[in-house]
């Protein structure tokens, strides 16, 4: 389905996510490129900050609602909210409607935004019906399913379908791909040694595939796994899947620098 006329191009508000904004802008640019290539008009509301998940998962309902209202106001005018993150979209899609359960009209506005919020890769396949990309990436990779993307949004086959179209790339499944990597937001700093065990198990699964690259759809997971891989001296390169799909892999992987240690 090709959309040519500017007036019928879907208007997408890109929800950058705080981790992409701070740690890996390239993922944001990859998301923009993928959406534009698929025929969307992309805007980036400038005053967005955070979906409120850190407050929500810490039990701070009041701050969560303040932040959620900001997001709803900033994005409800678009046709879609799209983010390169299963966890942020899970928050907006699954949990925003529950935040305001007793207070219309915010309940209605949260519902409306929820219906048009999507994780990036599943948006491309499920809504825009993109079947492939024209990027190339030579080598082997393995893919980690982030828990919220997988279990709250059902994102699993869509990234794999898109990655299958990348020329030169072969994806091998790791053992326990759908087991938590141990990030869990503040969990990794509140229970660091348990988190360390979980990420070490994950790194073992990754190494056992023999793949040269680790891909995933969530920056939290990727920062966690990349950090552990680098500490362990692993040569595995880590990218957000959007970077590979958009062909924006000229920069070093997450946690890699331009200079050697």
């Amino acid at each position: 389905m090709s959309i040519t006329s500017p007036s019928t191009r879907p208007r997408v508000g890109l929800f950058v996510t705080c981790l992409v904004d701070l740690f890996r802008p390239n993922v944001g640019f990859a998301a923009v490129k993928l959406l534009q290539d698929a025929g969307c008009q992309v805007e980036v509301p400038p005053l967005q900050v955070c979906c409120g998940q850190p407050a929500y998962n810490s039990g701070d309902g009041a701050d969560t609602r303040v932040l959620a209202r900001r997001v709803i106001e900033a994005f409800e005018g678009y046709d879609y909210l799209v983010a390169p993150s299963g966890s942020c979209v899970g928050m907006i899609k699954e949990h925003y409607p529950r935040l305001f359960a007793t207070s219309a009209p915010w309940q209605g506005r949260a519902d409306a935004l929820s219906r048009k919020s999507f994780e990036l890769m599943s948006f491309l396949t499920d809504v825009l019906h993109v079947t492939g990309v024209s990027a190339r990436y030579a080598g082997t990779a393995t893919y980690h399913d982030s828990c919220s993307g997988l279990r709250e949004l059902g994102v699993r086959d869509q990234p794999r379908a898109l990655l299958a179209s990348v020329e030169g790339l072969s994806v091998t499944e790791m053992r326990d791909a759908n087991v938590c990597c141990g990030f869990g937001g503040s969990f990794c700093v509140k229970f660091p040694r348990i988190s360390q065990r979980m990420v070490s198990d994950k790194v073992r699964s990754i190494s056992d595939t023999g793949a040269a690259t680790l891909l995933g759809g969530d920056m939290g997971c990727l920062l966690n796994m990349a950090g552990r891989l680098k500490r362990a001296g692993s040569p595995v390169k880590v990218y957000h899947a959007a970077e590979v799909l958009a062909g924006l892999t000229q920069l070093p992987g997450i946690g890699d620098g331009t200079k050697a240690d």
Binding site: V16, C18, D21, L22, F23, R24, P25, V27, F29, V44, P46, L47, V49, G52, P54, A55, N57, S58, G59, D60, D63, V66, L67, C147, S148, D176, N178, V179, C180, G184, G185, S186, F187, V189, K190, F191, P192, R193, I194, S195, Q196, R197, M198, V199, S200, D201, L223, G227, R228, K230, R231, P252, I254, G255, D256, G257, T258, K259, A260, D261
Partner: protein
């Protein structure tokens, strides 16, 4: 049982270094989880049955008083007695009194988590009654003087070698003087040693997976046969069960049975599923003379109709903990009470008190695997989050994370200030990383950098780069 849940973090860290425990826990990944997956795959109706099971429980809970009264009426009609206990102290006292009235000296026990909850063993021992655990896992931990670490495999934390040593140490008085090292020989020795105990018991205590309102039956689901020897041989049979165990009819039990064994061990049906109602009938050749059911509340009635209501659907299958990566890393003892893993992280605060069990709802990444495998569709992560809300609202969060959260929320609510601060922050981090792309150390980030490098930002935020490009291209 006394709670040590407040000590979770320290116990978890100890558990992570315990090589024998880690070896035992490693078997979980290939044991229960794979078997459950196979069993679920072999039953096309499994997902539909989850919904039906949920409805049955919700219907029952919505009319719990009616069904408990019906259950009681029918227990009495078959010649049994029902006792109600609001608290664990009451429940203990009731069981001790029944044993005193029966002149009991020896009690055998089938596995009962409610029995652990009320601390019945200690109460009986204090009253001069010998208690013999007969479920092999419970027997092993009784010898080791430890609490259970899993709700259906209480000794899952023990290696075979540890069990060999326990038997060697404790079975000499039964005339067993050689170490038994093979599984078959270990189980055989337990069979021989415990057989005498079964035959000598005055009172048998079992739990109940279900209480059937229609006819006053108590149902146990076992594999070893110890529950049946416990409920048949002694003169008195006592059932200890939570009030939420009641289910309307035998047909309803049949439905939930299909979910239970598959979710627990991957079996289609456990070896022994037994429905007991009342004492022996007049012409029976065996069976107890008296049948008592002790119904325990201990906070369950509070949960009805509040935000933790759904936890009452739990059928104690253990699927959640079998699939929990945190439980899989630290085992059950870290949770410090009767119920470990995800369901324990919800129940323990509710039964023991949120302020005494702070770490439990927080020791979770909210990954959701537990909810995915729960046969009763209990939204465990949502309830853990609600417990965190209670902790927050009651001001129980320690000051440091609370301050961090407040600082984050302060900034997040002020986008322009946020941009300024983070713009500076990412520059600083990028500079510190000096092109290597990562930081090995960072003040205030010790918890992260102890085990991982911190990937470093590039030097500007996405928003800065985006604004710059927008201005540059004039669009």
């Amino acid at each position: 049982m006394q709670s040590n849940a407040h000590d979770f973090k320290r116990r978890a860290d100890v558990a992570l270094e315990d090589m024998e425990l880690q070896k035992a826990l490693g078997l979980l990944k290939t044991g229960f989880t794979l078997k459950r997956a196979d069993a679920v795959a072999a039953l096309p109706e499994f997902q539909a049955l989850r919904g039906v099971g949920r409805e049955i429980k919700e219907h029952t809970l919505a009319h719990l008083d009616f069904y408990l009264e019906a259950f009681e009426r029918n227990v009495r009609a078959s010649g049994g007695h029902v006792h109600w206990a609001s608290s664990v102290e009451e429940a203990r006292a009731i069981v001790v009194q029944i044993c005193r009235d029966a002149g009991a000296k020896r009690v055998t026990k089938g596995k009962s988590m409610v029995g652990e909850e009320i601390g019945v063993n200690e109460a009986l021992e204090a009253a001069g009654v010998d208690v013999l655990e007969t479920d092999l896992g419970e027997y092993i931990i009784q010898l080791a003087n430890e609490p259970p670490s899993h709700i259906i495999a209480p000794a899952i934390h023990k290696t075979k070698a540890q069990i060999t040593e326990l038997f060697y140490k404790h079975h000499a008085k039964h005339g067993k003087t050689a170490r038994v090292t093979e599984v078959a020989a270990i189980v055989n020795e337990a069979r021989e040693v415990l057989r005498e105990g079964f035959l000598a018991a005055d009172v048998g205590i079992t739990g109940a997976n279900f209480l059937v309102a229609e006819n006053g039956a108590a149902v146990i689901v076992t594999n070893e046969g110890n529950g049946d020897l416990t409920n048949t041989l002694p003169r008195v049979h006592i059932v200890t069960a939570g009030i939420e165990k009641v289910v309307p009819t035998l047909e309803d039990v049949s439905t939930i049975l299909r979910l239970l064994a598959r979710s627990a061990t991957g079996q289609q049906m456990s070896v022994y599923t037994t429905f007991s109602s009342g004492p022996k009938r007049r012409e029976d050749l065996d069976g107890p003379d008296a049948f008592h059911v002790v119904l325990l509340d201990n906070g369950r009635s509070e949960m009805l109709g509040n935000e933790f209501h759904e936890m009452l659907r739990c059928i104690r299958c253990s699927a959640c903990m079998n699939h929990c990566p945190v439980y899989g890393a630290v085992g059950g003892h870290a949770y410090g009470w009767v119920y470990p893993g995800p369901m324990g992280a919800v129940l323990t605060p509710l039964m023991v008190g949120i302020e005494k069990t702070m770490p439990l709802p927080n020791a979770c990444t909210l990954n959701g695997r537990c909810q995915e495998v729960c046969p009763m569709q209990i939204p465990l992560p949502a309830m853990l989050r609600r417990l965190r809300e209670r902790e927050f609202d009651e001001g129980l969060m320690p000051w440091l994370p609370r301050a961090g959260l407040a600082a984050w929320a302060f900034l997040a609510r002020r986008p322009r200030l946020y941009r300024a601060v983070t713009g500076f922050g990412v520059k600083a981090l990028a500079w510190l990383a000096r092109g290597k792309g990562r930081l090995r150390h960072l003040p205030l980030a010790g918890a992260w950098t102890a085990a991982r490098d911190l990937p470093a930002p590039a030097g500007e935020t996405f928003q800065q780069a985006w604004q710059r490009r927008q201005r540059g291209s004039g669009s």
